[in-house]
């Protein structure tokens, strides 16, 4: 395909540089000296406040990942902090004689406290996630509300945890011979951990797993059909968020040296969500801004409101609540989102040349073994789909061979979309079989088929509008990589990541979108978005391409370019099935046409014979006299 054919677009917005490390690297560089000096010049009271902010920001960071990136929400952060803080406090204060023999070494050990705290948090989060994350988005918040309340009452009633009075007398933290007994010493520990967590989160988001998590928000059906396990991605985000809270709980226990149920109540869980929202859930730094802003504002309001209202109580909650409502109505991005907008620079204006300067070429990914030309790749055998009394597909049978393009056409309501859904395993036949490379696939999930080499596009374009074109396409290669969360957070995935992005780049250049690699996918014209979907499908290295109305919304030159691309793919041995309305596009391109009307086959054959077939003419033109 000629580059430049698809290049005419009026407005092109630069992609939100979420995974771009540079702005964050700048923030880090600016922050480090400030943080290094702060405890030396600030009074102890302020340092203690900064310690609390650091701990809150760590828990809020989890919520930014969960709410802002993954589009889920939880009120359980405070409860997770509580689990870990109590585990830490218990092990720090228990005498070795009270623990069962093999565990006696844990008494008084901060690292054992950390480990047990994190393991407990992980276990509880796994159970909660397992029972809520498969369900619609309302069950996680409701589940965490219920569990947060239960836990609060449980803490208050368990004798060995001190009941409502809590556990006190936690000794100062001492790690590897360094004593963290003063607020100033803890400050460095807390903020070092927080900054490491921020960097780990940024790394995670800029990775294969990160793309899967970012696709959760509005792209689940699409990413599932690219082989992404949405449940797993949700679980990952939820567990990472819980583990940040667990880490915060450990720090909390050693900062306060005292734990009681009150700070881990549901109200505290709500406060963390407010911090995340006020700071801005779309940006990792929003966690720090939110935690600091809410903590300072709370102090100020707690001084001010009792004077105004003449009595004491939790009245700052009214102000925060109203602020959240206002924010949701007017500025859903929070403070950090607003800042990011103000500083948004148009760094990636397409120039017409291929925009891959910062993408080093990498070793190509291994390819799957393609079927020999002429081999049957897809076969439908007597496929019938009923919806109650309505028969949407009746006894549909056809084959698609490697190196062949089959078009399924028919008037509106002919049952093409139903058929397409069954072929792509989104829906399943009532009776009949669908075979892919000789194996039955009806009943399998779309996700399983992505791995087998079946790749698709969508009738209504499904992409992630705020992610870059390159990242959108890289989702297609999800199953060709294997690195997980830990590797991503520690940047051990760079070699694989480079290969995945290189593959995405190559496919984008191939379809003619090479100059748009770094722009926001949502700013492309509709026709280009369709082409992007084809590049994404190609990224999965398929042997069968299912295209749902690929030419809809394309201009003449774009259609020509698309046809050229499809012809080239065919010559490489790809099997292609397309559902299309555009007769000119279909007739000049495909090898065979399968015509449907009212859910049944009315004709099948090469384009020339279809064009003169009386049944087809009747279906399309209402009869020939």
């Amino acid at each position: 395909m000629k580059p430049g054919v698809l290049s005419k677009t009026p407005t092109v917005k630069p992609a939100v540089p979420m995974p771009k490390l540079s702005p964050s690297a700048w923030i880090l560089l600016a922050l480090l000296p400030v943080l290094a000096v702060a405890p030396l010049v600030l009074p102890t009271y302020q340092v203690t406040l900064a310690n609390n902010i650091g701990i809150f920001a760590l828990a809020t960071l989890g919520l930014v990942l969960l709410t802002g990136v993954a589009g889920m929400t939880s009120f359980g952060q405070a409860a997770f902090i509580g689990v870990s803080a109590y585990a830490t406090a218990y092990l720090a204060t228990v005498s070795a004689a009270d623990l069962p023999g093999p565990l006696a070494w844990m008494a008084g050990s901060p690292l054992a406290g950390l480990a047990v705290g994190l393991v407990l948090t992980f276990a509880v989060a796994t159970v909660l996630g397992a029972v809520t994350l498969r369900l619609s988005g309302h069950y996680l918040p409701l589940g965490t509300i219920a569990w947060g309340l239960s836990l609060f009452y449980l803490f208050g009633n368990l004798e060995f945890l001190g009941g409502h009075t809590g556990l006190s007398g936690i000794p100062a933290l001492s790690l590897f011979g360094i004593a963290f007994d003063r607020a100033e010493a803890l400050f460095y520990l807390i903020w070092a951990i927080l900054l490491l967590a921020v960097v780990a989160t940024l790394n995670l988001l800029d990775s294969r797993v990160g793309r899967a998590i970012r696709a959760l928000r509005g792209g689940q059906r699409m990413s599932e059909s690219m082989g992404v396990d949405s449940f797993r991605a949700k679980m990952t985000a939820f567990l990472v968020a819980a583990l940040y809270a667990g880490l915060a709980g450990w720090l909390y226990a050693y900062t306060q040296r005292f734990v009681s149920p009150a700070p881990f109540s549901l109200q505290a869980g709500i406060d963390f969500l407010f911090m995340a929202l006020i700071g801005g859930v779309g940006q990792v730094w929003g966690a720090v801004i939110g935690a600091a802003g809410v903590t300072f504002a709370k102090q100020w309001l707690q001084d001010l409101l009792p004077h105004l209202l003449g009595r004491t109580g939790n009245f700052e909650a009214i102000v925060f609540g109203l602020l959240i409502v206002l924010l949701m109505q007017r500025l859903p991005g929070g403070v950090a989102g607003w800042i990011a907008k103000v500083f948004e620079r148009r760094r990636h204006r397409p120039t017409g040349a291929v925009d891959d300067v910062d993408l080093p070429a990498a070793e190509p990914l291994p390819r799957r073994e393609m079927p020999a030309k002429g081999e049957v790749v897809l076969e439908a055998k007597g496929v019938t789909r009923r919806f109650g009394g309505l028969v949407a597909n009746r006894d549909i049978s056809f084959t698609v061979r490697a190196g062949e393009i089959l078009a399924v056409i028919g008037p509106n309501g002919a049952g093409k979309s139903t058929l397409f859904n069954q072929l792509s395993c989104v829906d399943h036949p009532t009776s009949g079989e669908i075979l892919f490379r000789g194996e039955r696939i009806d009943g399998r999930t779309a996700r399983a088929m992505a791995g087998a080499g079946l790749s698709r596009s969508f009738q209504h374009v499904k992409l992630l509008p705020t992610m870059s074109v390159l990242e959108n396409v890289a989702i297609g290669a999800h199953l060709r990589g294997s690195k997980g969360v830990a590797a991503a957070a520690l940047r051990l995935d760079r070699a694989e990541e480079a290969r995945l992005l290189d593959e995405a780049r190559r496919q984008l250049i191939r379809v003619g979108l090479g100059q748009y690699l770094h722009v926001e996918a949502g700013s492309l014209a509709l026709g280009q978005q369709r082409i992007l979907e084809i590049a994404r499908a190609l990224c999965a290295d398929p042997c069968l391409l299912l295209l749902d109305e690929p030419a809809a919304g394309l201009r003449f030159l774009e259609k020509q370019a698309l046809a050229e691309l499809l012809v080239k793919l065919r010559s490489e041995g790809m099997a292609i099935l397309l559902v299309e309305h555009d007769m000119d596009f279909v007739m000049g391109l495909v090898d065979r046409v399968y015509v449907m009307e009212f859910g049944e086959r009315i004709a099948e054959g090469p384009p020339e014979t279809i064009q003169t077939n009386p049944a087809v003419l009747e279906a399309y033109l209402g009869g020939v006299e």
Partner: protein, 345 residues
């Protein structure tokens, strides 16, 4: 545990369960029509109970001021919208009437002593305060973002709950209150003594459920609400305004909430923040019903009432832990019977 205790606990469970069932129904109603999880549902309950108690105790009734403030906010928002649309400030009749109504009711409740007015009149005044409160809450907080992502609606719900609890503390103070029972004595059925308040609760709940059933099955407005719940866009296309549907469902929720509060106030001491825990049990019922089925939700809520009542006997301090842990098996079952990933609008 003997039979008498079983009967006593069962009776308690039915009383509470009936209230939870009412709340579960109203939560479901609001959710299906507007996609909003009405976390502030509990505040209707607490505010109603405490307003009743304030009237009976002769202490100032301050709820009118909240209604007046919200009505004024609604008026301002409406005028602002008109100004942005037409370039001039216009005051429409509805919001203006709302302010007048709130002002009148505030004057009535602050100036006229209602301590001797009798339970029926007090209950009427309480509902006259709370039902429009529901309407105003929808107008001010939810209507501007009615089309937003469900996550945003949930966050606003939580925020509104937090605001209302704070305002509740301001209006009613930190002390709890209990009201006089509707009637004395009880009814002896064989060896069981039925508490008169239990009979009231069960009778009013049944009447309300029947009333709701008739409303949704027989009346045009009820059918319109059901249509909006099944398909919002479709309902809008045939002329059912989503604003009207939203307001109507909130008014109904406030009505159910205030009735629940009035019914429960003689049985339990209610504090300004008690509503949340009570309504959460309604939520557990609604979850048991899969946020979809009314009868299952009501049955689930009755079950919660029983579980709560019997766990009070066996492990009083773990009562809430047991009740809220009950949703785990329900969620497990729902997860196992669910498959596939969907995108939420």
């Amino acid at each position: 545990m003997n039979l008498q205790i079983v009967m006593l606990l069962g009776q308690d469970g039915i009383t509470n369960g009936a209230i939870y069932a009412l709340l579960a129904l109203s939560i479901l109603l609001v959710f299906t029509v507007t996609r909003i999880l009405l976390i502030p549902q509990g505040e209707f309950v607490a505010f109603a109970a405490l307003t009743m108690a304030a009237m009976q105790g002769g202490t100032p009734v301050r709820l009118g001021w909240l209604l007046l403030a919200l009505a004024a906010a609604a008026l301002v928002m409406d005028s602002h919208a008109a100004w942005r649309r037409d370039g001039r400030i216009a005051v429409r009749r509805g919001p203006a009437l709302g302010v007048a109504y709130a002002a009148g009711l505030t004057a009535l409740t602050t100036l006229v002593p209602l301590a001797e007015a009798g339970v029926a009149l007090q209950a009427l005044v309480t509902m006259a305060l709370i039902v429009p409160l529901g309407l105003a809450l929808y107008r001010v907080f939810y209507q501007p973002i009615a089309a937003a992502h469900p996550l945003v609606l949930l966050i606003v719900s939580i925020a509104v709950h937090v605001v209302l609890v704070g305002v509740g503390l301001l209006m009613f103070g930190p002390e709890g209150a209990r009201t006089e029972p509707f009637s004395d004595g009880g009814l002896r059925l064989g060896m069981v003594m039925l508490n008169s308040q239990t009979i009231w609760v069960v009778a009013v709940s049944l009447a309300l459920i029947l009333g709701l059933y008739l409303f949704f099955e027989r009346s045009l407005y009820g059918k319109a609400l059901r249509a909006a719940a099944v398909n919002r866009l479709g309902a809008e296309l045939v002329g059912i305004s989503p604003e009207l549907a939203g307001k109507a469902s909130f008014a109904l929720a406030a009505l159910i909430g205030s009735l629940s509060g009035i019914l429960i106030a003689p049985i339990t001491t209610i504090y300004y923040d008690s509503g949340f825990i009570i309504s959460l049990k309604g939520f557990v019922g609604a979850i048991i019903g899969g946020l979809a089925s009314y009868p299952v939700a009501a049955l689930g809520a009755l079950l919660i009432g029983q579980a709560e009542s019997f766990s009070t006997f066996w492990a009083s301090s773990y009562k809430e832990v047991i009740v809220f842990t009950l949703i785990l098996p329900v969620l497990v079952w729902r997860s196992l019977s669910h498959h596939g990933a969907e995108d939420e609008e």
